[in-house]
């Protein structure tokens, strides 16, 4: 059951003592250890760290794609581990948007249809109109009927960004959004992402290697071997 927290007016995301372990055949691997953090509404946050440090796992847990071994994640007033899978799906449909490193567009659908899909799944009105507007906003008004195969990497990611903002999410999770793009295209895509984020007043949580991109976020969490190491974050939390 969703639990209402008095802080939910201000807080978008609250994580307490989060740990995640994976059982292998011979031993257990600890991927995250005692992570706690809070993110306010409208804030933009970068999670940075080396490969294998656990940042993608953390992102998955924050977005409710997976459930933690220990600890709680409270997303937009709901404690994720207490929701059923279908309730989590519903939460994602209405409140959460995603941008992925590998774009994750459905190859059989056109750009327009890819953007319409989450609107339809959330049961929103006039999905096509909204999808057109967004694609025009990301500069692909002329490419509506193209399938992902007919689009360059940068264009695909712009479709993905349009899709992410389509259902008007309260929070957007981005996993290495520029990781598969060259510098210049990466720059264009990150500009678009930041601009839209500002326009829509969305909370942004981003995993990235890209220092420039991380620097454009209001705060940065550093993660190393599954633990948060950035003291700045702690200091800000105390505020």
């Amino acid at each position: 059951m969703p639990t209402t927290n008095p802080d939910s007016q201000r807080l978008m995301l609250r994580v307490e003592n989060l740990s995640h372990r994976v059982s292998l055949e011979t031993n257990t691997l600890t991927i995250l250890k005692g992570v706690s953090l809070e993110i306010n509404r409208g804030e933009s946050v970068a999670i940075v760290g080396r490969s294998g440090s656990g940042k993608t796992t953390l992102l998955g847990l924050l977005a409710g794609l997976d459930t933690p071994t220990e600890g709680t994640v409270e997303l937009d007033g709901s404690i994720i581990s207490r929701l059923s899978e279908d309730e989590r799906a519903k939460l994602r449909a209405h409140r959460v948007g995603f941008v992925f490193q590998s774009f994750q567009l459905l190859p059989a659908l056109t750009a327009l249809e890819n953007v319409m899909l989450p609107l339809e799944l959330a049961g929103m009105d006039a999905p096509e109109k909204r999808a057109r507007e967004l694609l025009e906003r990301v500069g692909l008004g002329e490419r509506l009927t193209h399938t992902p195969r007919q689009l360059s990497g940068g264009e695909q990611q712009r479709v993905a960004i349009a899709r992410a903002f389509a259902s008007d999410p309260a929070i957007l999770f981005a996993d290495e959004p520029t990781g598969n793009l060259d510098n210049r295209t990466g720059q264009e895509v990150s500009d678009l992402l930041m601009d839209l984020n500002k326009e829509q007043g969305t909370t942004l949580v981003m995993v990235t290697h890209d220092e420039h991109l991380a620097a454009r976020c209001a705060r940065q969490f550093h993660i190393e071997a599954g633990e948060l190491t950035e003291p700045v974050a702690e200091a800000e939390l105390a505020d």
């Binding site: 993608t56 796992t57 992102l59 998955g60 977005a63 794609l65 997976d66 899978e85 279908d86 799906a89 519903k90 939460l91 994602r92 449909a93 209405h94 959460v96 995603f98 992925f100 994750q104 459905l106 059989a108 659908l109 249809e113 890819n114 319409m116 899909l117 989450p118 339809e120 799944l121 959330a122 999905p127 096509e128 259902s167 996993d175």
Partner: protein
């Protein structure tokens, strides 16, 4: 939901290779099962009505007491909307120009025959024609031999009793002539209205009144229910005759068709299982994304369930669209074979098994992997997750196997079929386990290198899991297809053996004991030696263990053999084509005992040691059953329900002798000479009937081959399913190998070798399992003898290796024609 709908649309599905395989498999399964069920039903129906034409009706009522039946019996039949007809049969002397002859007269009404046709000839040089009526009043049609015997011509008059009747045609074949041995003298056919004026029938004359009935099965059965209580002891109600014609051959053809259908079901199920598992694997990324975008697992479940239902409907509709024209074609073939119209009738009930097949293969095989899709973690969008180990699929597989064998059982109604096939399958899986162990043990030591052979062996070892499951599926496919080919081969050989071109086509009946030697010499001199001659005594089986047999055996069982006189014989040695199934044949000087035909024995519930009493004229003989034997009814040789020892009680009874022999068409003139020399011997010409049977066998064989093509198509679909399952991985490997500097020729050779090895292993296993299945089937279903089929079996592993090597080469095509770079990117 335009986008979501499009995502799940049929058009999009059609672009997916795995979906095409599932659909093709479903369509083939439905088409095969529907065609076979429809055709088997039609065959049954046609068989009965074609046997009916041997009665010239659907049913006959015979009155052997020399009295016509009450007129209201016939009125009742007409009121029940049955067609009726009437015949009077008697023997009399007829006179030609200056000779006379004993003939068997059949006087028929206008309606005769209700079923079947007569074949007549205007004169001995005229063309043959088929007609559906008897001679007009004032006319007769006669057996051609009578022309010689009486020295008359068509157009002359024939004196029958007080009447002169004009010979207006020659009677070549009558639909109810059949194999009945009662036609002892040459036939004369006349109109029934002329009978009274001949004055031949007097009080006490030996005459038989026969009434013909035709109509729907329900009306006939209703009429019989009404009639039965009124029938006297001399009345006989006859349906299709026992042990007659080629029904046995066609029964086997039907068994074969059902076997083929069952195998098609199994093959299609395998194809559906492989392809849908592959499809489910390919859908995991989409499912993870849909989940991430907010679709719940129940929504995902529903989405794929709808899609499955859509496939099901497509499979059924597509299958029926294939089946109906195919069935139409088969009915045409059958119609040509029987030389009579065969109704093209779509029985809804025949379609049920086909639709059931689609549903079962879909829900027992395709649904489980697709159902598991909803458990795909959403996290997969961020990071690839461990795939299925195959362990979770085990319970599904067990359920599926039970489901599909249940279906085969339901469909073919033969438990032995299910047991044989399951047994062979278990054997196959056992052998596969052993092979897997050997593969791991032997190939582990092979080191890779620049040699194609090594690369192929290492490839087999590295993909050992995939290799073994591919060998399993190929072997199973080959087993099923080989089983069918083997059964077909032995079935056809069997038929060929049963009706060789020189099968006896003439019977000689009523040979007096002292003429036996002369008759044999006559044919010996003309180079057509007679088959064995058998004595024949007519008698009825009246008591079983001292009880009247009509009381012991309920009338419902309607054992035809009880209703008429049986031909009893004695013989010293068992005829070649008879087999003792219980007890033992007479010893040299046995005087006691009787050997009974096995089907009659089982109908009467006879066991060794039972006492049978026969009434022969005014005498009675009681004998103990000492053996039960099978008889080859369609051998065209004299066959007997009851055989006595050569020195037994039967030897004292008045007997005549019977034999059969082969006479080529161009020597038929010898028959006239024979008739003149042995006027009392009756001659039965069955060459026309044999030709018809041979034609039917040929056509049914063609139908079977058409079905076989469908089954082999199913096998190919399975192959395609399995190959496509590993297509991407292999293409990626190939592209990498080329990128890393592997020569094209090396890649081609090693891949072809690897596939050839797969095919070879699968071929050997499949063929061995097929031999086991056929061995089991042969005994239970087809009553044949088992022998190894080296000539059929040996080429199969070789061919399977060759075909798979070519398959392997074919799937390498894109790897060789496109730059590795492009291919790798495309496969990403």
């Amino acid at each position: 939901m335009a986008a979501a709908k499009k995502l799940m649309s049929m058009r999009r599905d059609w672009r997916e290779r795995d979906v095409r395989v599932v659909l093709a498999a479903l369509i083939i399964a439905v088409a095969t099962v529907a065609t076979i069920a429809l055709f088997a039903g039609q065959l049954q129906h046609t068989l009965v009505s074609s046997a009916s034409s041997f009665l010239a009706a659907d049913r006959q009522l015979e009155a052997e007491n020399g009295q016509p039946v009450p007129e209201e019996w016939i009125t009742e039949a007409r009121e029940r909307r049955l067609q009726t007809g009437r015949m009077v049969e008697f023997s009399t002397m007829v006179f030609g120009s200056d000779a006379f002859q004993l003939v068997s007269v059949k006087a028929v009404s206008n309606e005769y025959p209700l079923r079947g046709e007569l074949e007549i000839q205007g004169d001995s040089e005229g063309s043959r024609e088929q007609v559906q009526h008897g001679p007009a009043p004032g006319e007769v049609w006669i057996n051609p031999r009578l022309l010689r015997l009486l020295d008359i011509r068509t157009g002359d008059t024939l004196e029958v009793g007080n009447r002169n009747l004009t010979v207006s045609g020659l009677l070549l074949r009558e639909p109810d002539g059949g194999f009945s041995l009662s036609a002892l003298a040459p036939r004369v056919m006349m109109h029934v209205d002329d009978v009274a004026s001949t004055g031949v029938i007097q009080e006490g004359s030996r005459v038989e009144y026969v009434y013909l009935f035709a109509g729907t099965e329900a009306a006939l059965e209703g009429y019989y229910q009404w009639l039965q209580p009124q029938l006297g002891p001399s009345h006989e109600w006859e349906g299709v005759r026992d042990g007659e014609t080629f029904s046995r051959s066609l029964d086997r053809a039907e068994s074969f068709l059902l076997l083929g259908g069952s195998l098609a079901v199994l093959l299609a199920a395998v194809a559906v299982a492989v392809a849908s598992r592959q499809y489910a694997l390919s859908q995991r990324d989409t499912v993870a994304l849909l989940k991430t975008l907010g679709l719940g697992s129940s929504g995902i479940g529903l989405l794929y369930l709808k899609r499955l239902a859509l496939w099901g409907v497509t499979g059924m509709v597509g299958g029926l669209l294939v089946a109906v024209p195919l069935f139409w074609l088969l009915t045409r073939l059958l119609s040509e074979a029987l030389d009579r119209p065969v109704e093209f009738q779509l029985e809804a009930s025949a379609l049920t098994p086909a639709l059931l097949t689609a549903l079962v293969s879909l829900f027992a095989f395709a649904y489980p992997p697709i159902r598991r899709l909803k458990h795909v973690p959403a996290m997969r969008v961020l990071r690839s997750q461990p795939g299925e180990t195959g362990r979770e699929a085990l319970p599904d597989m067990l359920i599926a196997i039970v489901a599909v064998f249940g279906l085969v059982w339901l469909y073919a109604g033969e438990l032995s079929l299910v047991v044989s096939l399951l047994g062979a399958l278990v054997l196959l899986l056992g052998a596969l386990g052993l092979l897997g162990w050997l593969l791991v043990a032997a190939l582990r030591k092979v080191r890779g290198g620049g040699h194609a052979w090594r690369l192929a062996l290492v490839g087999l070892y590295r993909h050992r899991r995939a290799s073994l499951s591919q060998i399993a599926v190929f072997a199973m496919t080959l087993m099923l297809a080989t089983t069918l080919i083997l059964v077909r081969t032995s079935l056809l050989d069997d038929w060929q053996a049963q009706l060789p071109d020189d099968a006896p086509n003439h019977f000689l009946i009523n040979i007096a004991p002292d003429a036996v030697g002369d008759v044999a010499d006559f044919w010996e001199e003309r180079g057509q030696p007679l088959d064995q001659l058998y004595p024949m005594v007519r008698g009825r089986l009246t008591q079983l263990n001292g009880q009247p047999v009509k009381e012991v055996v309920s009338k419902d069982q309607r054992v035809g053999a009880l209703n008429r006189e049986l031909n009893l014989t004695w013989m010293a040695s068992l005829p070649e084509d008879n087999n003792i199934v219980k007890g033992s044949w007479f010893e040299g000087d046995d005087k006691q005992g009787v050997s009974v035909e096995s089907e009659l024995a089982s109908k009467l519930g006879l066991a060794l040691g039972d006492e049978l009493t026969f009434t022969i004229g005014s005498d009675k003989i009681t004998e103990t059953v000492t053996s039960i034997r099978t008889v080859q009814w369609d051998s065209m040789k004299p066959n007997f329900y009851m055989a006595f020892p050569p020195n037994g009680g039967l030897t004292d009874m008045p007997a005549t002798w019977i034999t059969s022999f082969y006479l080529p068409r161009d020597q038929k003139s010898a028959l006239n000479e024979f008739s003149r020399r042995f006027p009392t011997v009756s001659l039965l010409e069955i060459d026309n009937i044999i030709e018809r049977i041979q034609e039917i066998v040929r056509q049914v064989t063609q139908a079977i081959e058409a079905i076989l093509v469908l089954i082999l198509a199913a096998a190919l679909v399975v192959m395609a399913a399995v190959v496509s399952a590993t297509l991407q991985d292999r293409q990626r490997e190939g592209a990498l190998l080329r990128t890393l500097g592997g020569r094209q020729s090396l890649l081609v050779r090693s891949t072809m070798l690897e596939f050839a090895l797969l095919g070879g292993f699968a071929g050997v296993l499949g063929v061995a399992a097929a031999e086991a299945a056929v061995w089991a089937l042969q005994f239970r279903m087809f009553e044949g003898q088992f022998s190894w089929h080296w000539q059929v079996v040996l080429p199969i592993p070789v061919m399977s290796a060759l075909v798979l090597a070519l398959f392997g080469r074919w799937q390498l095509r894109p790897v060789l024609s496109v730059s590795p770079m492009l291919l790798l990117r495309r496969l990403e």
